[in-house]
Structures are given as structure tokens and as C-alpha cells.
Amino acid sequence: MHDLTRLLEALAACVGADHVRTDAPDRDAYSRDLWPRSQLERLAGDPPTRPQAVVWPGRPAEVADVVRLCAAAGVPLVPFGAGSGVCGGARPDRGGVVLDVKRLKALRRVDEVAGEIEVEAGMMGELLERRLEHRGLTLGHFPSSIVCSTVGGWLAGRSAGQCSSRYGKIEDMVVDLEVVTGEGAIRRTPRADALGPGPDWNQLFVGSEGTLGVITAATLRVHPQPAERSFGGWLMPDYRAGLAVMRGSMQAGDRPAVLRLYDAVDTFMVGANPHAAEGGGALSRLKGLLSAGGDGGPSRLKQTVLRTVLGSPALTNAAVRALPARCLLITVCEGEADEVAGAHARLERLAAAAGGEHLGEGPGRTWLAHRHDVSFKQSKIYEAGCFVDTFEVATTWARLPALYEGVKRAVGPHVLVMAHFSHAYPGGCSIYFTFAGTGRDAAAMRHTYDAAWRAGLDTAQAHGAVIAHHHGAGLSRRAHMPAAHGEARQWFDALKATLDPAGIFNPGKLFAEEGA
């Protein structure tokens, strides 16, 4: 206790007393990120994993001071962006000090000519993109959480935006990083486009989820706002036909901004299937319950129906199998007119060849206008005593169908599961599974939730897929990380020993600590 008091005094001396807080409301607010399991734990009445203190350094030099002080005291230090992570990455489950990075939010440099910006890690995504847009630029990074996440969080977790097939994931946009490493040094990594001998440090810090240092700023590539955009929508005979279109486009070297294929359930749920009347009864009710609008709060009856539907996943998933196989494919191409026209024309050819029914521009435009709406449904589901979560895996095109079918089969006994395919690359694609379930009480929900996750990740791994495409590993995938990396763990341990000799950075994340 005495040591903690001394540490807090020292922290206050370096960042200012206003920027060190130990009040209960702050410790509670920083006790979790948006990992749904934390929410279930909260509902079950489990005590939160609270930090002893939260600090808000205002400059990189203050970050370095905080790191030095925590290292000297041997106190865990958890970097925290906006806490929108969905894997428990920012959860201070060993207590210690949470370092909120958001006071570092300057847009330090905008170089329109070189197509680069230098931005501090605490900048909120939406605010950055708005500022760039104001200057005719775009980062091209649009995660659904852009409204509630930071640049540092994106980098720390290898985030992907909705336009990744054109602009890449965040790791593809990094030119260099400013990081504070474990001995309290502020370092700038060598530029990715001028690497000398030695590893590409950028790619070692990107994805490190706060375990190797604090990212304080980054130079990122930006682009002019697209001059043109084209929208496409097709109802494909089945998901395999849709995948063939996506693959054909990417392997031809085109870079459409959005290629998004909903599986049959998701197609039904987004309501874009003009033949949707064919939907199953339970599902129709579910869809009605989740549809937007009329927001007086779901009635008790509706909540009961939702719990009933999600409480019998086997039946509900069986109803799903009765749905028509047709799948909605949405495309957006953007850039200069020629490039857009070429990529769009190829998509039309590929979709026609694969038997797609052309739905015109509507689905693409509607998607763009409402692309963040789906996240608003989360509250309704939880309010009804159910849970919803997502996990994203990736593999090569050839293995994608088996992975998709396998995960659905494995998770199906526990939860209602649907998926869309997005984030396409020449060699493969990610699958984004959404699952929803319930249980008698919060403890039972947690049990079902854990079972669904385990089944999903086990199956993904058995199919040779990567267990995370963009949400990171945090705590939720930690148990599967040793199998994912095998002996490559040695590299991680060596990195940790090199960059974080005191072992304070976000301990126990990514990989469980030895002996823990």
C-alpha cells in the first residue's frame, strides 16, 4: 500500500494530480473493454478487475515517465485507447495502472503531397477521418468501431476497416511508429519504406496489444478522397458463387473498396433478399424484434420470444437451413473513373457468370448509408437477457467453404450463428461470424458463451485458419494462441524480454504468463 501511495504521488508529480485518478467510478469504468464476456460477468455479479489507478499523460515524455515509474515499482501498466476492443485486451486483469492514451491526440503533420500524416495514438478514429475528409483526404480505414476507437487501438490490435480490400488493414498503412518501450525510451521505428538491416519493427509493434510498449504516434499513408464510386448488389445462388466473384476480382488485381457477401441467414437478416418471404417463422420473428425503429424498448413479450428463439439454437439453426441459399453480395468500387469503371465491369461479368441476380445500386448505397446501424442492435439483445458476439477468422479461398461449414456446425448447438465474408485478398478472405444466444441466468449465459467460443476457435484451428483476422487476441483467444504460434512463441518471449524487461506491459495478454 505504501509503495502504491508513493507510486501515485510520483505519477501525479509527472502528469499532474488531475491526471491521476483512483476514484471508484474511474476504476470501474476502466475495469473492462467491450469484450462481451466482461458484460456477462458484470451481469452475473462478478467483481470487476479494477486497476489501482488510471493515468492520463499529456505528452510522449510523460508516457515515458509513467513507464519508468511503473517499471521501477514493478506495477502492471495497461495501455488503453477507447476500450472498444472486444477481446479483453485492455482489461486490467492483473490490476496495476491503466494508461489512457487519449490526451495524445494531435494531428501533428499532414503532407498531402507525400500522402502521409503523423497522428498521435489517442486520436479518435472518426475525428481523424473527419479532419482528413475536410482536407480532401482519407485514411481509408473504416472499422465499424470508428466512432469509438483510437488510432493507437487500431495499431495495437491490427484492425481492419470496411474498405480493407482497397486500402489494406491498418498494418498496411503504417510508415513508422513512435513508441515508448519498457526502459522508458521514446523511439521512432525505421520507416517501412526505407528498411535497413534488422526486422521491420513496425510489424512487431503493430498487433502487440500493449504488451511490448505504448504506441504514442504513427505516420500513416493517406489518399485523396475518391473521385468516383460505383455500387453493386447481386443475389448470388449460394455463398460459393458469391465467393467466386470476390476471388475473381481480387485475383485479377482489382482493388474494390468493399466486397461483402452475406450468408443466407445474414442475407435474410439484412432484409435485402427480394424473395425474403421464404424466411422461417422463428427467424422472421427474430428479425422483427431486432429491426430498428419504434424504440420504446422491447416489450416483455418480445423479450421472451427472443429468449425462446435464441434459447433453442438447434431448432433455430434448423430453421435457418430451410432458408433459401441465396446470398447478397455488395460491392463498392472507388477511385479514379477509369479504375472504378474497370473494376465494376469485371464484377458485373463475374457475377453474371456465377449466376447472380443483379439488384442494381440499391444494396450498395443502402449499406453505405447504414453501415454502422447494426451495432445499435446490441443493446436490444442484451436488454432481453441474451448476448451477441462476433468472431472473425481467415484462411485461403480454397479452405474457406470447409471452414465456414465447419464453424457453423460446431457453434450451432450453442447459439444462433450467421456470417458474412468481407476483407478479401488475392489469396483468401476472412469470415465474420455473428452469434447470439441466451441462458437461464447470467452464469448459464456465460457458460453457453464460452462453449460457443471454444467450439468456434477449436474448429477454425482444426481447419488451419488463423483464429483472428482483426479483433486481436487479448484474453478471448489466449488459450488458442500457443497452438496458433507453436515455437514462434519464442520470438514473442524474446521480444518481451528485450522491449519490456520489467514485464509490466499488459501482462498476461496474447499469451498467458508462464506459470499463470
Binding site: 519504406d193 528498411l195 512487431l204 498487433g207 499513408r221 481467415a394 504460434h485 507453436g486 496474447l510
Partner: protein, 345 residues
């Protein structure tokens, strides 16, 4: 050259050759043999060099001959992913996939005979292709041998978010952190047509600007460079595409805003690049946008590669410049290697 080597047998690695001043040579045919070789070298504090064929001994250096660790393990024609063993040279790899109508993209002559494993270890950056990236960029998975004698594994996927990209530890790090024993690389349909284009500009920076405009318009040459041509600077490009696209050169010239020059120039450059293992290129200078002319003047630059909005990489003759001083990152890389070998740091 074999005379310089003496056959020898070692319990840990089997048959090998030794040479003067702690030189050693080992032929490997399996990934696990690479791992054993690395461990063996680590124990003896030997440097490691990956080679094909017999090379002269170098003091305190283990040559790992990977000639027997070559070939295509599998080709996934749906995903267009080639699973290649690390000892395969780039020229061999390209020939292997070419026979199935596929390509790795352009393979510069200066790397054609280099084993993939060695290119990864060296952090090969001499194919800055707008369409295909660097040779080491298109990797979907990489299995590595570690200095402690073990092998990593990794799922095959285009991107991942399972922590740092640990496989980068074997790119550009010599053999200090491990070696890539096999890789999954993206391959592409062979283009129906390849045409050369040459465009002239009044100077380096103007050529660079023209290149950037082309990029921004979505043009992605298979490879290109800018080089001095009398008083002008010439942007040379090879454009890969569909057979039906007759106007590829015209579009490229228009986009860059330069003056069209005889395509023979570009063709000559491409041909030379395809067979010349020219080491003159190896001095690389990163020049920022607008600073290319100054850098070329100062370093007697020959060619500018990797033309990108933020700058370009200038290739200049080796001038005997003092090596860059070891920086903080190099020190960290050393510490990393020491930790990996399990040494107290």
C-alpha cells in the same frame, strides 16, 4: 572449391565440412536440419550464410547449402498460393509456377539465383513492384527454423491479428532470429500481354511526380524505375495486362504527363534486369518526395526504384561510404537475438 573443405561428422548435425578459421559447411534437405544447423552454429557462435552450391569458406561462418531443400510442396490453384521450400531459387520458383500458367510477378535478374530463404534473411527489397510488391511481401505463411533448433508453424492466411507479425523476425535479420524453411507465396495468373513504356521528364523530381500521378490514377505497372538519360530522366515501366488492352502504353504516358520515348529503351532495361546480377545497385538511399534530384546529385544516383508518393529509393554505385552507425534499433535487434539464444543479457 571443394578442396578448401574437409569432410567431418558431428553427432548433432551429421555429415559436414570444415574449413580454415572456423568455417563450416552443411547440406540440408529437411526443415528440421536447418533448425539443427542453426542451433549448432549458435552454440559455436558462428555466423550463418545460406547458399546454393559450394562457396569459399569464410571465417567463423557456417554455410548452409539449401540446394536439396528446394521445390514446390504444393500449389493451391484456387487461392493462387504456392507452397515453396526455402532452398528454391526465385528463378526455379517462377519456372515451377509458370508451368501451371502462374507467376510470382517479375523476378529481377539480380535475385533470380538466390534461394528464397536467403532473400528473406536479407530482407530483399529489389522488386518494388506497384502491382506485386516486394518479393517478400506476398507471403501468406512462413515456417521458420529457430536458433534453438525448433520449427515454428503458422496457419496460411492473407492477414491475421494474433499478436505481432512474428514471422517478420526472419525478414531482414540475417539468420540471427531464424530462417524461413518454407513459405506460402501469392502467385498470379500469367499476364496475356507485357508491354514496355518509356516516358521522359526534365528531371528526377518531375519523373517522380509523374509516377505518383499514375499511381493515384490506379495504374499499377508490374515494375518500373526512373533513370538518368542525358539531361533528362526517363521513367521506364513494364505493363502487364489483358491481351485486348491495346492502349495500355498510351494511358500510362498520359497519366504520367511526360513525353513518350521509344519503347525499345524500356525493353532493353527490362531485358537487362532479367539477366544481370548487377551488384552495383546495392547502395540504397531513401529520398523523400521532392528530394530525389538532390539525392541523385549527391550520390551519383543511377536509378530510382520504389517510386511512391512519399519518396523513392535511389540506387547509387557503392561509394565506399562508411557503414551507417549502429543505431538503437540495431542494438535492440542484437539483444533480441541474444534473448532468443537464451543468453543472459
Amino acid at each position: 572449391m571443394k578442396d578448401a573443405w574437409t569432410p567431418h561428422h558431428d553427432g548433432a548435425v551429421g555429415d559436414l565440412w570444415t574449413g580454415p578459421a572456423g568455417a563450416a559447411r552443411l547440406e540440408v534437405a529437411e526443415p528440421v536440419a536447418v533448425a539443427r544447423a542453426l542451433a549448432w552454429a549458435a552454440e559455436r557462435a558462428l555466423a550463418v550464410r545460406v547458399v546454393r552450391g559450394v562457396r569459399p569458406p569464410a571465417p567463423r561462418t557456417l554455410q548452409i547449402d539449401v540446394g536439396a531443400l528446394a521445390g514446390l510442396v504444393a500449389l493451391d490453384e484456387i487461392s493462387r498460393v504456392a507452397h515453396l521450400r526455402g532452398g528454391t531459387t526465385w528463378a526455379e520458383a517462377e519456372a515451377l509456377v509458370a508451368s501451371r500458367g502462374l507467376t510470382l510477378g517479375p523476378v529481377p535478374g539480380c535475385v533470380a539465383e538466390t534461394p528464397i530463404m536467403a532473400s528473406f534473411a536479407a530482407g530483399e527489397r529489389r522488386r518494388p513492384s506497384p502491382a506485386f510488391g516486394h518479393l517478400t511481401d506476398g507471403v501468406l505463411a512462413l515456417r521458420a527454423a529457430l536458433p534453438k533448433g525448433l520449427l515454428t508453424r503458422s496457419a496460411v492466411a492473407p492477414r491475421r491479428a494474433t499478436g505481432p507479425d512474428l514471422a517478420r523476425c526472419v525478414v531482414g535479420t540475417g539468420a540471427t532470429l531464424g530462417l524461413a524453411v518454407d513459405v506460402h507465396l501469392q502467385v498470379w495468373d500469367r499476364p496475356e500481354s507485357r508491354v514496355a513504356a518509356a516516358v521522359r521528364f526534365p528531371g528526377w523530381d518531375a519523373a517522380h511526380d509523374g509516377a505518383v500521378v499514375a499511381l493515384r490514377q490506379g495504374l499499377r505497372p508490374a515494375w518500373w524505375c526512373a533513370r538518368r538519360r542525358g539531361r533528362e530522366v526517363e521513367l521506364l515501366a513494364e505493363l502487364w495486362g489483358d491481351a485486348g488492352d491495346a492502349d495500355a502504353v498510351g494511358r500510362f504516358v498520359d497519366a504520367t504527363g511526360g513525353r513518350e520515348a521509344p519503347a525499345a529503351d524500356a525493353q532493353a532495361w527490362i531485358d537487362a534486369r532479367a539477366d544481370a546480377a548487377d551488384t552495383r545497385w546495392s547502395a540504397q538511399v531513401a529520398a523523400p518526395r521532392g528530394g530525389l534530384a538532390a539525392a541523385a546529385r549527391a550520390r551519383r544516383g543511377i536509378e530510382a526504384w520504389d517510386l511512391r508518393p512519399a519518396g523513392a529509393t535511389l540506387y547509387a554505385p557503392r561509394s565506399g561510404d562508411a557503414a551507417d552507425p549502429p543505431d538503437a534499433w540495431a542494438a535492440l535487434a542484437d539483444r533480441l537475438a541474444e534473448h532468443l539464444r537464451g543468453e543472459d543479457v
